[in-house]
Point group: C5
């Protein structure tokens, strides 16, 4: 099982590396190009539209982005357009052009492996965060981009599993404030949901760490060293995925826009609190990994100590005895002791006494 | 005894974990839901009301929150409503609605495991801190929420032991300024009392650390390593419970409210000083744990050194002697020394000389 | 191959040292002297001029700087003057005087080994950054100075390989915004291009680190220690080449100049984001090197542990057996066991039993 | 002698602990209570008054605080009231009430173990710092509180040795500016004097550290480890006694009071400089203790290395030789070599050659 | 040679200690006393005056300070008064009084071992920095104080070697801007010159570090440990001599004085850049020392590993063989093997096989 676990981790790690490395292909290109830097994770791009207000909510799926954009233009309600899968670059391009978004926004949507951030483009807001899922007890993450302005909010996801199913359900059931509020509140609700998932990711990490600790205290094995070093990298990855979010949320709170109400601030402050809490937990587990590594090395060191004690005790008792035996094994013609009637027994007795003395010595030294 | 101590610690640790993990159940829920995330620590919720002014003080208990709220509405005096036990969610909900508190406040009251903080909601103040008790020589802590506005202050506690008995006594005896002041002063007094209890917790931690140090210097044992690593986690928990309080108190000092007098500032500054002092002590003990861990490893290393010396001395003396004995134990037909009359005694004498030389060598090397 | 790799690294390191050490020759000189502190890296200084606007683009090369300056003066278009090779000091001097640049600017152009920075001289901007190239799988870097003002931008490079070929191609093909914008956008485009090359350098570093890790986990060798310590120095060099750039770009964004448009800000913010991303990756790899060093030491420690176990097992089994053999090798005249018919076989059997007991003991201790 | 030194240290440490622990008794009390938290260090409280101006200076002692207060009220000169010994709480209380000081000030005077600080109470200033004395080559410290306002400065000391004798002498001799200045300058002079004593304390610490280093490099002993760990705690105590002073002095410089002249600022800046210098020295010695601990561990490690070398050399030479001797000690009936005339001598010669080869091998390996 | 090097270092270190310790004698003294705290480093104080403007430059030496001051008063040109040697306290006193400098300035001039700083005394500026010289391949440093105001600049040096000879030559030759500028530019030029000398000091340190590294990688010796720990202290001393300069230069740039021109700012920014560069190099070498210490410990650890391997291989091969020999050396009367014709040769053959098996085992374990 541990083998499998390690294999998974390495897969996780390779994903991270890939994300960071794709940037390089773009050296020398003009900024604002529509190029997808990730790997395709869905077969077909899904285009989902939800239009809602306090009285009514409509959910639709579209085959082409053009139809979806027309539907948005014709609706009087608040619209949430959800795009899943980024490899069909044309879709992103059309959205960006339709809503007059900046082309740097467009580039960022398709550049997966972004740090969480919030960019303020006068007439709309561009927000990036990471969503963590547990997939068969394994952490996967994807980049979520949220663009919102007066009346319309657009989300871009990398992976097919719909990140926001629960939010959607809440909206359809009319629970909470979400239906009676505008896109600013929806953006907040999505962000809050993602931060809640950070808790799940960190919880998962913490549990695996606790398993390691329990195992460590019962029996040290060799493969724990690379495992712990891998854990260190994992928590560092989580750290980098969370810490920049703090600044993004702080910017969010300070935004002054016609499409943002003042009563949203208190909700943003709440999600900010949660983010700080997540950061604190990340720091706790980062320290824990360091602690476990130290503990591992200490246990190894302790064991060495015990092994050396055994060697020293055995050697220290038998080496002198063997010497005595060696002396009486010499072939000198004139060795009076050899002819004594009880020479042999006296020697054995002497050896026994010597042994007892040494055992007594070791007892006093607390080695036994 | 040590076994018991360890067991207790692990219990303490599990409590902490639980607090941090309950958050996750709320992923996808609308914000501001009244859901208690802790475990029930009292059988029945206690509802205590104290109304007071300079002339008079009345203390009452209620079965239902409705009666308590009516009593508050009818009283002309300053009111302190104290709720012990959070599992009956309806009580919190009614209080929040009665006083028109924000529903995010309500959620925070029931979300135990919050970081200490102060939130400023225009017409009232929401303050969170942690209270540490010593229970049978064991640290337990609970979340205390204080909400206060013009004329009314409400405290929410998790555990049955009344945290603020001494304050209550002081008020009934009319000692100090508390009776002639408003809710701002009462909030300060409660905060000051909690900070005083941080000293008790840290004192307790420091004492247990001193015991470990004394034991460490007299005899190193194996179970100290996990114990010290556990201590590191404990002080980190204390650290996280104290450090955010500084910012909360600093916000408290800067509040400008109609229900806050200017003369309260100097008192807040005093409790701020105490908090800084507590933080300093936490830092000292954090460093101490690190120091003890290093000391432990050094002592282990030192002992290894001594064990190796014994092994080396015994081996270095007897291995050559055993070789000599081996030589004269060979069965060559022509070995002239064997026939010498004093061959045996000369050999023994030579061995003795060799031994003395080696002892002299070790003395000079300061190994003996 | 590893030998070659190490040799390359040392070459890289020596280059760095040289850059830092040349400063000293200038102690006592007046500031603003035109002295080239690097080593000559091109045979002949190349003087390239590109004049462009939205309709037209002209690319020329000149033998003398005077002709180039005349051409610039006569052109109505935006001009980009590119100087490759700094050893002909007169060229720099003439440029500085022609455009009325500050003589401290002139000195800085020729002082290679500068930290990245942006200096604001009222009527023009002086920008320094480092360009990293991969040359036969080996990292080389050079200092790039960019001076720009109304209508003219000048770049100074150390090395012959043209750093900006791709940008030039883009301009000639009329791709992107660059042709329709002024020198501020060109400066941004060059900076963006250099930051993209930081990704290449870091990617390269990361790959070499991954190779080391793979090797480390399969087999530890002695030369890894100096290699890892060398890697630590390399990443520190990258760190120093990147981190100051952040402040320079931040200054760039805040500049208020007649020759800078407001719409450039959003592009600068984008390159700022990339720089932060680069810094994050540098930090990740810095931590990785530290981690690998720790891992290396832990593996060494683990191996020692195993070696000691083998020694202890062998010694602990055979030393007592050898003692028994020694006892029955003694030459006492009266040793009854020696005359027993099966004495030898009983002794061998006893030895076998002793051996099995010890093997059982080691099994229980998990040493085998 | 070392024993005595250690004993002293532990005494010092216990004092520190006591200071920190007394706070806890006050949990639940109203703020501003007059309770002395230290231990009585003088038999009788000394009440000393010095009234002075440019022309005249009068020094008096009083039995009761009432007489002293009357004398102050009647004097037209600047007054310095010096209280030594804090256990007679009534004295502090009367002073606080007489001059209308805040009761939190009163509490702080009697709470020894305060961090250095400066509190600004509108009509007066409350300043706390620590005074270090060398007492029989041993560091002791006490809390000094300075309260000053228009025309009157009051100092509170814990210990009988008069901290400020030299200042008093300077005043009586009319040296320096002190006589012609007001209480602000006197406060500065006292502070400057205390900072000068920090230098003495740090100097003392540094000397003891140098002694340890010299001893460490000549011979490592076991008791150095706890000693160095104790030193680490001592320097941390000094650090905590000095670092908060910086902020206090910085506040002092920024005070705007009718009883503070503008020309005092340059003097405060000077004492601020000295404090920074002290902090720098504390940091140096903190690093030194860390360095010595590392050096200690390295020396231990080095010694182990040498011990192992000796063991390995002796074993590696004699174990094979002993084997050879063992071979020819076997009792096979048919062992041709045993009957060779020079078999014994050839064997001895072979052993000698083997030994020389091994010695050569060790030489080449640089083990000898 | 290494011995001599170490001796030099210790001398250097003692100088540092002395500088820091002299402060203590002044405890209790009035501030602003003229007391020289260093050791006399010149026989006679040198008093040099240079008066200059754009047309003319005059250089003079004086026996008494009074004559020099008269000459300054009578000159219409900009004056640079250079004092070498501080032990004749009267000279400093007369200068301070003549120009109406603050007496705290006077005290600071004579208090060597100051941190670099810039103090702004309304009508003049007080600047302190350290000058590093290479004296016979050995670093020495001195405190340089620069006071400047309208028309006059005064430098105070500790050591006879004239620090500023090259500047003087430049001025006499009329090179650079210095002759046509005022005292602000001269102050800048001196500061720039001192910062250039920091590069020399750091270069020197870096070279010695490189020598150590080369030696370390070829052969580890015992005296490297104290040498590296000494290097750590040296770089910390350099660090403390450089880092505060940054703030001083930053203050310099912000000064607004009638005797400071606005065009000086760009020059100060340049020297500020150099200081940042120096700080960066100090940080690099600080990290390098730490790295070398770690490398040293790792190499020691690696060697131990190899020594243990040799011991284990030799023991593991010969201990079992010796046991076999011991068995056949037993004297049982009934040991059938002993009488076999080829018993001896079979045994030898068995031993050879056993040896080969073990060598094969070690090969597989990569120990050989
Ligand atoms: Mg990232
Ligand atoms: Mg990290
Ligand atoms: Mg990180
Ligand atoms: Mg990071
Ligand atoms: Mg934390
Ligand atoms: Mg920790
Ligand atoms: Mg928390
Ligand atoms: Mg922590
Ligand atoms: Mg924490
Ligand atoms: Mg502290
Ligand atoms: Mg501390
Ligand atoms: Mg410490
Ligand atoms: Mg450590
Ligand atoms: Mg640099
Ligand atoms: Mg570094
Ligand atoms: Mg660096
Ligand atoms: Mg990182
Ligand atoms: Mg690390
Ligand atoms: Mg303290
Ligand atoms: Mg500390
Ligand atoms: Mg400290
Ligand atoms: Mg230092
Ligand atoms: Mg320092
Ligand atoms: Mg250190
Ligand atoms: Mg200093
Ligand atoms: Mg330092
Ligand atoms: Mg320093
Ligand atoms: Mg650096
Ligand atoms: Mg650096
Ligand atoms: Mg480093
Ligand atoms: Mg370390």
């Amino acid at each position: 099982m541990k083998k499998t676990q390690m294999a998974k981790k390495l897969k996780f790690k390779k994903q991270q590396n890939k994300k960071q490395s794709q940037k390089i292909n773009k050296a020398g290109m003009a900024p604002g190009q529509f190029i997808f830097t990730g790997e395709q994770k869905t077969e077909k791009t899904l285009i989902q539209l939800m239009t809602y207000n306090n009285e009514q909510i409509v959910e639709e799926s579209f085959n082409t982005i053009d139809k979806a954009l027309t539907a948005i233009d014709q609706s009087q309600k608040t619209a949430w357009l959800n795009i899943i899968g980024l490899h069909e670059v044309e879709i992103t391009k059309k959205i960006v052009e339709h809503f007059n978004f900046h082309k740097l926004s467009g580039e960022d949507i398709l550049s997966v492996g972004q740090r969480p951030k919030l960019d303020d483009y006068e007439h709309y807001v561009h927000l990036v965060a990471r969503m963590f899922h547990l997939e068969q007890n394994d952490l996967v993450d994807e980049q979520i981009t949220i663009l919102f302005k007066e009346g319309i909010l657009i989300t871009f996801q990398e992976r097919e599993e719909d990140a926001f199913e629960l939010i959607r359900t809440r909206m359809k059931e009319g629970k909470g404030l979400i239906r009676s509020k505008k896109t600013d509140y929806l953006a907040y609700a999505l962000l809050d949901y993602m931060v809640d998932h950070y808790f799940i990711a960190i919880e998962h990490f913490g549990n695996s760490l606790e398993d390691i600790e329990v195992e460590l205290l019962s029996e040290v094995s060799d493969d724990m060293l690379p495992l712990l070093h891998h854990k260190r990298r994992e928590i560092a990855y989580l750290r980098r995925s969370v810490f920049p979010l703090r600044e993004a949320i702080s910017k969010f709170e300070k935004l002054e826009k016609p499409f943002m109400s003042t009563e949203i601030k208190v909700f943003i402050r709440d999600v900010y609190d949660h983010t700080i809490h997540v950061m604190e937990m990340v720091t706790v587990y980062k320290d824990s990994v360091g602690s476990l590594l130290e503990l591992y090395m200490s246990i190894i060191s302790n064991r060495m100590n015990k092994i050396m004690k055994v060697l020293t005790i055995v050697s220290t008792i038998f080496i002198p005895l063997t010497f005595v035996a060696g002396v009486y094994g010499m072939n000198f013609s004139n060795m009076p002791e050899l002819t004594y009637k009880n020479g042999y027994f006296i020697t054995l007795f002497g050896m026994a006494v010597l042994t007892l003395l040494m055992i007594f010595y070791f007892k006093r030294k607390k080695w036994l």
